[in-house]
Symmetry: C2
Subunit: 176 residues, 2 copies
């Protein structure tokens, strides 16, 4: 059975609504999408301190699930070995929070198929769905870029704009 | 740079002193090494409930460091990319505890080089040092079995009885 590695933040867990709330709290207004298109919200001029929130307890605990991810992953598991993986090591509290989040929203994924890592270079699989080009670049299988604001201008990879596109991509392959 | 994947429990973290204490508390005596040679202590007849302690908060927090592991890993890092990995997903509290343990005892290992997973099949590297034959069997690089009571009768792998032997093994290779 071929193995698909699936990232968490901005692939199955929605991070942006929370970042927008934080931005609004810090700067008194909600930014336009055009302002952070092609970058992370904390890479906007003057917004660097927003990144600090990733280290706060609770940041990862209550993120919404990205639309369609649960149904499509459940389908994929019929034909593929699905591993969820996340670069969680930088953020001390994220480990427990991500673990509990998966148990709540993806209880059908066995704990054996979860990986928290610092860097994805040491992972092995046939497909990787990720929003970060740097993770896809070191992957030896087929890389699939899941669209997020920060990767809007990335052109090196097959792009998945949503989970419906992921479903269609793998339906054509039928386990291959 | 070639990559060495190094396991935690029974490779750099000493688990048995704690298991022996638990056994003594539960059964009123300390078992002889011969009684659990070739198996896990909780696989001794009647001792199954000892495995439950792995789920307790604090179990992994204060394990002693296995002799020589710090010095030898520091040396290996000059010639190799070292990743610490642990099958932590089964035990909810172990994630945070193992994270803090590494930070305390192996502060020279960057967070990027740490992986907590459920199953090691999806890891990639050139060498794997592990006490479990099942992890080594699915590994595509060179497997090295680190001696522990439960693997005493395993004969399928190159065996490392201690960290001095690991040092010598890699000294001969000099990065290769």
């Amino acid at each position: 059975m071929k193995r698909i590695l699936i990232d968490m933040d901005e692939v199955i867990a929605e991070v942006y609504p929370k970042f927008l709330d934080i931005y609004e709290k810090e700067f008194g207004r909600r930014p336009e999408q055009a302002e952070f298109w092609g970058k992370k919200i904390y890479d906007m001029p003057g917004a660097e301190r927003i990144r600090e929130y990733l280290h706060h307890r609770g940041f990862f605990a209550d993120l919404p699930v990205i639309q369609g991810s649960q149904e499509v992953i459940r389908e994929l598991m019929e034909d593929y070995e699905v591993f969820i993986n996340s670069a969680a090591m930088e953020f001390r509290y994220s480990l427990q929070e991500k673990y509990d989040w998966l148990e709540m929203h993806f209880p059908f994924i066995p704990f054996r198929n979860v990986i928290f890592c610092g860097d994805k270079r040491a992972l092995r699989g046939d497909y990787m769905i990720d929003d970060h080009a740097r993770n896809l670049r070191t992957f030896q299988g087929t890389p699939l870029l899941f669209t997020a604001s920060h990767n809007a201008f990335e052109t090196d990879f097959i792009r998945m704009n949503n989970w419906e596109e992921v479903r269609n991509f793998f339906r054509e392959r039928q386990g291959d």
